[in-house]
Symmetry: C2
Amino acid sequence: MIDIDQIFEGNPRIVARAITQVENGGEGAAALMKAVFPKTGRATVIGITGSPGAGKSSLVDKLAFYYKEKGNKVGIVCIDPSSPFSGGAILGDRIRMATLGLDKNIFIRSMATRGNLGGLSRATVDAVAILDAAGYDKVIVETVGVGQDEVEIVKTADVSVVVLVPGMGDDIQAIKAGIMEIGDVFVINKADREGVLRTQKELEALLSLAHRPDMWMPPIIKTIATENKGIEDLDAAIVSYLEFIAGGGESSARRVSIAKWRLTELVRERLLTDLLSRNGTGERLEDLARKIAEKKMDPYSAVEAILSEPPA
Amino acid sequence: MIDIDQIFEGNPRIVARAITQVENGGEGAAALMKAVFPKTGRATVIGITGSPGAGKSSLVDKLAFYYKEKGNKVGIVCIDPSSPFSGGAILGDRIRMATLGLDKNIFIRSMATRGNLGGLSRATVDAVAILDAAGYDKVIVETVGVGQDEVEIVKTADVSVVVLVPGMGDDIQAIKAGIMEIGDVFVINKADREGVLRTQKELEALLSLAHRPDMWMPPIIKTIATENKGIEDLDAAIVSYLEFIAGGGESSARRVSIAKWRLTELVRERLLTDLLSRNGTGERLEDLARKIAEKKMDPYSAVEAILSEPPA
């Protein structure tokens, strides 16, 4: 059993154990999160996304150190979509965590899904809530990739930062629709590279197309994370956005919409878990999967076969 | 009501309508897929993934034309994770579809999720099955990003192609775990760019680390899609892989594992749909989401509140 008070006191070992518990899901996670919930809502949650190669990890590290120097406690949650396949955090992450983890005011954790039940989004949002309740002032959620799950997670942050690099060429086109919607602040990292002006112009053009006068106009910040350049500008942009949002009614509608998404995710996970925890459902699923693979049954009829069985 | 025979005859308008029906989900989709299922299993399904900027779209287009020239009918299904936010296919996609769609032996379709119910994976797999039943010889599934959903979808293909570009630097490290597992064939596209040799050496090193003597060794193909270079090599690598797999027992275990994943996805979607279709559940969800946003209730208690209500 996890000592909730130790979480509220910010004991990093207990915080880590609590996050493991929410990763595992189930009853224990639910009880824990009910206890943690009332203490949440104080941290600033910063979502950082972008494609592989954009240098997100360096940027996150530098931003975390920047906040720490200003006297903040910083939590970092990394979402690693490759982990479901490798079964754990990857090498680069482990090295990084060993380095950053030496600092007692920085907590870093890599999240992984467990098997096919999904629940990564839910576990990540729970981990952020635990860090929030544990007194971390800033919680940075870093995702690799632009997959749907990752985008959903970033949307639950107070502010979403999208990281680009110069020379994405045609592909700024390909990701523009998603970017438009989730980016509150844009970063062009590796801004010492060729093509930075072109990327900036393209991005500006896209952003102004979507802009309405009463809406926030996402700023574009240039950084060179590896040289620690532009980090202060990024912080200033984040602060401006949070001030803008605090002044309007958008904030409350956004919170309700996030809560609805989160609730739906939880219900979805719970329904499946409940079904699979019934005696024999696992074997039944295996058996039906074999029939589908052998083309003796179609998947939709298999679903009906599973759902028509009365609870044991 | 969709005329199933028109699907089997490969009428593209009816095929398009059938895909819309599986996107919408529900009873209609289930009935349709039950009818389609027996005619599936003939097409070669090729999954192509990689990060934004890798030039996947060009590569897919060129590969599709290559197959067409060889006398095949080709279906292309694009998964666009940005669509949930923009509510539809993006501009670049529409232009591309207008161009490719002029050819009667190429069918191209962009998939989008509808709202929060998820089901993109399920709808995509269903769309592939429809194209298969409609007589398309090759079905190419193209995903942007390396998110978990996208990776799962690519895993259901007969062969998975991972597209990289030179100069990804540190980030080949960051995606290596995921790549190792899903890539049957690797492509280094934009192979006229600087750094191609380094990327190739890094990838070779990673692949040989994971390689076991009895396993397939993923080949690395260099392409310049925009100049139509390397497409034949890519096809040859795909064919080699399919021949290798056909000779072993791995194929059947893989089909069962895919069927299991697919069945679980269907059950998950169905459970949530059933719950939400009950009278009043939508309003109840909205109401509870508001309470969570106002911190009057925690999400886990809200789940219990929803699930404890008896079916109306």
